[in-house]
Symmetry: C2
Subunit: 412 residues, 2 copies
């Protein structure tokens, strides 16, 4: 098998951990596999460099920023290769350029266009462990250094795994897999053995922080099997793959939550075509991401209440945008609630089972939890509730859907 | 004029100093010059990286070492370009690869083969200040990252100045020029306005640490005018150039000294052809550099004393080599003196003046300083003396040759 292993910043944070990464790569090779390792910068290094840059120029050129930031991964990939060699196995460190990771020229958040991977292929064939600097690539025409944005090393790993037709892409992180809920909140939370790309994406977008969303999207698109594991133990991880028969039996796979939103309600806005569009276009123009939207109007109403949620850190900025539009919106009042939380249930099984949302609402209601807003997708239901009820909501839903049991009859 | 400015590690050691470098580059550009800046890694960074590598692998692959070490200069060149832009001037940061610095493939001490410089030429023409990562290049065939060895950024600057036909190459360091002697020892030491490449090379090889020897050699070979200046003040520096009329009037230009040698005497070695060769070949094989050699034998003597000096840090290692050769050398005793110093006078004027060496010996003798070994070149005379007399020797020679006066009649 050809296995791509990606190690994040905490997994290469110091000498001992880099040695640990090298040891694991050598162990994998010892089982007869070809191994390509993708490494991030040592934890804190990228932030340190960003901080240096901003002390010098609060608005630095993105081209120079990429040149700056790409050095962190170069350092870890060189050190990791040295560590592998110390364990007696041949190793070669390759930068994004040397591996042939070609991107567009959108500096600091470039997209990978294609990967040649010639040197890696040859080195793997010759029995080397290949260590690649994650997060970086180069442009085709001018060979400018680019970076792929936060969490870009996950993306490097998935794209390389696809380009080299790897059998598995292992993402090593500081948790040992994807859980049915945050184990800090739900004691009985269980590690999921297998989950679909779709569910993982939904979980990630609903607040779970295990994997970078874009990398899961790319893995799904190209059908790259992903395994999330911890670099600090040898526990079995979570496999992220396409839907299979086992999974169909499960209706709800996991509970996600998000504590970092605010809810804003624009009261008594004029009920005219274009008013909602105006609000959300103006907010989007400031790069603020609106999550849920709710509007309650009956036909013929002159005025409407429009509610939506945004990242809490953007509350002030968003309020300013709305106030600046007072004339156009013609609202009577603005209501702000910074004490909300979002709880979500996720599972591909919902497609073929009815009554899942009802069960969720019922469960919350039984525990006296009031639902302020609801949002649904094909494989998830999310509720905005009072922040002080959030952890309880996660626990009671975990119980209600029987997530502590591997194959549960969740709707019995 | 096209001016290349090279700033060493202490000149870019922190944010404030990087801003200072940017300010100076912008000031130079403000006078109507084109400016290309070459930067080293922030002081201490390269040592930090080497230390990390050696903690992981005491014998790391030199290829990976170069990938590792080249990141320090990338960081400073990106930050310096950002700082220049902050001062309102367009800037572009270029790595060794992006400037087109092609080297041989001798990792960690590569030689520059040629420089294309296309991007730099275009950017300079378009009014940019170009900031280049020193110390690094790439190989032609496989585009491997290489580094040029300690002090390699000086070499980058000189080679780039030649390749782009710059009018001047300024080397900024923490001293503001080349002095007639170390100002810490001789209060009256005077900064030299102009000195020849040859004298500078001689001074560097005799212990002065202002410039890296290879970079002066290259500057001499291609006739690149070098100016040594301080980045911490606006004092006039020292121009290093070809010999001109003014210089001929001066016999001795400067006094150099070296405190870091040991003298070893192999007593009663067999006086046979090949014995000296055996000793020095064996020492060279361990990469220990022998400086002075003295041998006193009369024709027909059966035994000879062979003295030589080596870096003090290599004393133990050298003694081991000699002892291992006891049978072949057949010596009776080894004498080690770790308390020696070397004092040297340097000046191109010596070529056309006689009596200079005699005056040096006389001066030392007048002050009760015993000379243990003597070495001469066309433009220098060096004496090994007792370490405790070294500073006094520098002072009395500085006086004797009247170096505090600009145009002195030194042999009057």
């Amino acid at each position: 098998m050809l296995i791509v292993q990606k190690y994040g910043g905490t997994s290469v944070a110091n000498i001992e951990r880099i040695q640990n990464v090298a040891r694991r790569a050598v162990e994998t090779a010892g089982k007869g596999h070809s191994v390509l390792v993708v490494v991030s910068a040592m934890a804190g290094e990228t932030d340190k460099l960003i901080n240096l840059a901003h002390q010098i120029n609060e608005n630095p050129s993105t081209r120079e920023m990429d040149l700056l930031l790409s050095s962190g991964e170069r350092i870890t990939c060189a050190l990791t290769a040295m560590a592998v060699e110390k364990f007696g196995k041949k190793a070669i460190a390759l930068t994004g350029r040397q591996l042939g990771i070609y991107t567009d020229s959108v500096h600091t958040r470039a997209h990978i266009e294609y990967i040649t991977g010639e040197r890696a292929k040859k080195a793997l064939k010759d029995g080397y462990i290949v260590v690649v600097a994650g997060f970086q690539g180069i442009t085709k025409e001018t060979e400018e250094v680019t970076t792929l944005g936060r969490g870009g090393s996950d993306l490097s790993a998935v794209a390389i795994a696809y380009a080299l037709r790897a059998d598995l892409c292992e993402i090593y992180t500081d948790v040992d897999g994807v859980y049915t809920a945050d184990p800090n909140i739900v004691k009985k939370a269980r590690k999921i053995k297998k989950i679909t790309y779709e569910e993982m994406l939904e979980l990630a977008s609903l607040g779970a922080k295990v994997l970078q969303t874009r990398s899961v999207e790319v893995a799904a698109k190209f059908n790259v099997p992903l395994m999330v594991k911890s670099s600090f133990n040898y526990n079995e991880g979570t496999l992220i793959t396409t839907e299979d028969k086992d999974m169909e039996k499960v209706v709800v796979s996991a509970i996600a939550h998000d504590k970092n939103q605010s809810k804003i309600t624009v009261k008594g806005a004029l009920n005219r075509p274009g008013i909602a569009a105006l609000i959300f276009k103006s907010i989007a123009a400031k790069n603020i991401i609106v999550d849920m939207i709710g509007q309650n109007i009956a036909k013929g109403d002159e005025r409407a209440d429009i509610s939506f949620t945004i990242p809490r850190s953007e509350t002030k900025e968003t309020l300013k945008i709305i106030r600046d539009l007072k004339k156009e919106i013609g609202y009577t009042d603005i209501d702000v609630n910074e004490n909300i939380g979002k709880v979500s249930i996720v599972g591909v099984g919902m497609r073929t089972h009815s009554g899942v949302a009802a069960k969720m609402f019922e469960t919350l209601s039984e525990h006296g939890i009031n639902i302020m807003m609801i949002n649904t997708s094909e494989i998830s239901v999310s509720c905005i509730i009072d922040l002080r009820h959030l952890e309880m909501a996660v626990r009671v839903l975990h119980d209600a859907f029987g997530l502590e049991n591997e194959l549960n009859a969740q709707l019995s």
